[in-house]
Amino acid sequence: MPSAFDASNPPFDRLTQEEIGELRAALDIAYLRPGEAVLIPGQKSEHLHVVIKGSIEVRDGGTLNAVLGPKDAFDSRALVHGAAGEDFIATEETLCYLIPRGVVLNLISRNAGFAAFFYSEVSAKLDAFARAHRQEGMESVLRARVREASRGPAVMVPGDATLAEAAARMQEASINAAYVREDGRIGVVTGMNLAKAVLLKQLPLDTPVRQVCHFDVIAVDAEDFIFEALLLMTRHDRRRVAVRTAGEFTGFLEDIHILGLVAGNSQLIPGRIDRARNVADLAAPAQDIQGQVERLHRQGVKVEQIAEITSDLNRRLFVKLFDLLAPPAIRKHGCLMIMGSEGRGEQTVRTDQDNGLLLDGPVPAAELTRFRQDFSGALADFGFPPCPGDVMVRNPLWSQPLDGLLRQLRLWIMDRTPEAAMNLAIFFDAVAVTGRTSLLAEAKHALAEMMRGERALIARFANLVESFETPGLGAFSALMEKVGVAADAIDIKKAGIFPIVHGMRAMAMDRGIMATSTAGRIEALVAAGAFSAAFGQELLSALRVFMEYRLRAQLEAVRRGVLETEALVLPGSLSPADRDILRDALRIVRQFRETLRSRYNLAAFG
C-alpha cells in the first residue's frame, strides 16, 4: 500500500522522490465508522489525514462547511497551527491514510513548496500553488504566433512615390515601415531609411522612394511561431520582418512587438490609445486590453495586479472615447464616471459596462441624446457587454444633471427594494474619469452624508449580502440549486466575491469612508478599528483567491465561448490543494457574514 499512495496529488507532488519514499514508509491507514468524529474543535491532530474512500463532513456548530472526499487532506490547522477549528466527522465508511505529524513537520521544514500548503494565509497559499502551473513565462511567448504580436496595416507605396509622400503615408497610418512596389518586386522602406536619406545623404524630398528602399525582404507567415521569426531576425540581423497572411503582406513584426508579448504588451497600449484619431482607431487597442488579461495571467501575474493594469488601461480608453465623442457642451459641463467593479478597479475580463455621466447644468438635448447612444454603442462594439441593469451612459437615469441624480439617490434610499439598494451600491463605487470630476465628489459626499451612521438604512443596505448563500464546498446540492447552478458548481461571484465586496461597501458607507477599492476600504476600516488588521488581511486574501478562481473560470468560459459559466467553479475539477484553498476562503467569508449579521442585526430582515 505505501506504494499505492498517490504522490501526484497536490501538495504531495512537491515532494522529491526520496521524500515520497519517507512519507510512504510512515503511512498507516485508518478506518472510520459512519458518525465517528475524527477531530473536534480545539483538538490537536497527530496525523494529516488523506481520504482514500468515503466522506468527511466539516462542521462548525450547526453549519456544514464542507464535505471532503477522496484525495482531500485534512486538517492542516489542527496539525501545524495547534488546534482544529471545526468538527471533522465521517459520514460513511471511510478510509484515510494517516501521515504522522512528525513526518509532515519534517517535510515542511525541508521542502518550501510542500510547506506552502500549510501556510495559514490563504492567498499566500494560492500564490505558491498558482506559481507551479505558471512557469511558462518566456516559454509561452516563444510559442505564441506571429499574428499575436505583429502590427498592421501594410501600406503599399509605388516605387516612384517621393520620400515626402512615403513619410506622409507612414505617419498617417502610424507605422514605422512601408512596402514599396516596383516593377513587380516588393521592397521595404523604413522610417530610419527615410531619415538617413534626408539627414545624412541630404537627398532632396522629391527623390523617388525606390532609391532608398531595399528589396531583400525577409518575410514570415502570420501563423509562424515567434521563435521562428526571432531566428530569422537574428540570422539576418534585422529588427523587423515582413508578415504575410495567406500570401499577402499584412504588416510587420518588430522586436518591440515581441517585447510587448513578454510584458503582456500593456506598455504599448496607452500610446496606441493616445494616437487614435477616431473611434475606429480605438477598437484594436480596446481588443488588446482584453487580450493581455489572458497573457498576463498565463505569465503568472497576480490577479490584483492584472485588475489594476486592466482598469488603468480601460480608464485611458474611456477618457479618449469621451474626448472623441463628447461635443463641447458635454465636455464643459459633464463628468464621466465609471461604477461597480470597474469603479473599484477589480474587473479583469469584461463582464459589463457600468458607467454614467453627471452634468452641472443643461446641455443641448439633441447633443446629449446622440452622445448617450454613441458612447454606449462604441463600448459595446469594443466588446464591453451592455450592463444588464442598464447602468450606462445611454440610460438617462445615469446621465443627468447633479441635482436630478441627488433626487434619485434620495428616492432609492427611501425605496426598500433590493434593486434600489443595488443601485446605491453601484453608485457608491463610482470614480470620475474625466471632465468636471468635482461633480461626482459632490454627489458622493451628499450620499455619504445621507447614509452615514444611519443604522437602519445601512442595515437594509447590508442585508443584500443575504441574497446569496455561501455554501460549504461540496455541501448539499439543494444549497447550490438555490443560487441557480448545477449541484456540483459554485458561483464564486455570489458565494465569495459579492459578500466581501458588498459587506465592505456597507461598512465603509456606515463610517463615511470614501475609498472605492475593496482593498482600500479594508485598510480604512482597519484603521478606523472596525475589525482587526489580521481579519482584514484574511478577507483581502480570500477576495484575491476568489478573483483568481473567477478569472480562471472566465478565461475558460471565453475559450469555450460559454459566457454563462464565467463565474462557476466546479470543485470536482480542482486539484485537492486548490479545493483546500477554496474551502479556507469560503470559511473566511462565512465568518465575515456572521460579523455583518451581528453588527447590523440582519436576522431582523428575515
Binding site: 500500500m1 491507514i29 474512500k53 464542507a66 472526499g69 465508511e93
Partner: protein, 225 residues
C-alpha cells in the same frame, strides 16, 4: 476454517522448536495480521511462495508503517511462465530474495499469536504450513479470518435459494467502495484484505447488510459528498 482446539493442542505438544511457543499464546487484544502470499501456482503440494507480505491491524488502523514484506527464492521448482505473468515477479527479482527457511522465522515473529486475515486465507496458510512443518514441525495454529466469508454473511447470509453469489475479490472491493490498488502485489493484496476486513467487521457490529441489488457504489461525487 479455524483449526480445532484438539489440533492446536497436538501441534503445541509436538512443536519442534520451543522458541516458537509464542505462536500458541493469544496475540495482543484487538490485533490481527492481514497476510497475502504470491505463489508459483495454486497447488500447495507442488507450488512455491515467491513473495509474502503482512500488515498488522490494531483496532481500526492498518499499520502499514510496520509491514512485513519479503521476496522468497524457491528452493527447487522454477517459477512457471504463467505465474510470472500474473505477479510480474521475474526470476531476476526472486534471485535477490531469501529462501523461505530464512524468511519464515521473521514472518512468524511478526505474526505472533494474532489471527490471520485474508482473502482465501486458508490457501496462504496451507502454503506457509508446508515450510512451517519443515522448520518447526507444526502447522500455523493462528485463528483465521476469512474476508470472503464475512462478505458472504453481510450480503448473502439471508439470501433466498437460487441467489447467484459473486465472491470474487475485486467484486468485494467494489461493493465496499474500496479503491483497487495494483493487484497481485502481496502487500497491496494484504492491505486491501485488511481494509475489507475493517469495513465488514464494523458493518457486522452495526448490523448493517450489503444490499444485493447494488452494483458497487459508483464513482464518488467530485467533492466526496
Amino acid at each position: 476454517m479455524s483449526r480445532g482446539a484438539l489440533w492446536r493442542l497436538f501441534y503445541r505438544a509436538s512443536l519442534g522448536d520451543h522458541a516458537y511457543k509464542f505462536l500458541f499464546e493469544p496475540g495482543p487484544p484487538d490485533e490481527a495480521v492481514a497476510l497475502d502470499c504470491e505463489t508459483t501456482g495454486l497447488d500447495p503440494r507442488h507450488d512455491d511462495i515467491v513473495a509474502v507480505a503482512a500488515v498488522r491491524i490494531r483496532g481500526n488502523r492498518i499499520l502499514t508503517s510496520e509491514r512485513f514484506e519479503a521476496f522468497v527464492r524457491p528452493e527447487d521448482s522454477q517459477a512457471g511462465a504463467e505465474s510470472i505473468k500474473v505477479h510480474r515477479i521475474r526470476q531476476r527479482d526472486v534471485a535477490d530474495a531469501l529462501p523461505m527457511r530464512k524468511v519464515l522465522p521473521d514472518l512468524l515473529r511478526f505474526i505472533g499469536g494474532r489471527p490471520l486475515v485474508g482473502y482465501y486465507i486458508d490457501f496462504d496458510v496451507r502454503m506457509l504450513d508446508k515450510y512451517a512443518m519443515d522448520l518447526i514441525e507444526v502447522k500455523l495454529p493462528n485463528p483465521q479470518i476469512e474476508v470472503s466469508g464475512m462478505y458472504y454473511d453481510r450480503k448473502y447470509g439471508n439470501a433466498p435459494p437460487g441467489t447467484v453469489f459473486d465472491l470474487r475479490f475485486d467484486n468485494i472491493l467494489k461493493d465496499l467502495g474500496i479503491p483497487p490498488l495494483a493487484a497481485h502485489d502481496a502487500l497491496n493484496d494484504a492491505v486491501m484484505a485488511g481494509m475489507a476486513y475493517l469495513a465488514l467487521r464494523d458493518m457486522k457490529a452495526r448490523g448493517v447488510r450489503i444490499r444485493r441489488d447494488r452494483m458497487g457504489q459508483g464513482p464518488p461525487p467530485p467533492t466526496g459528498g
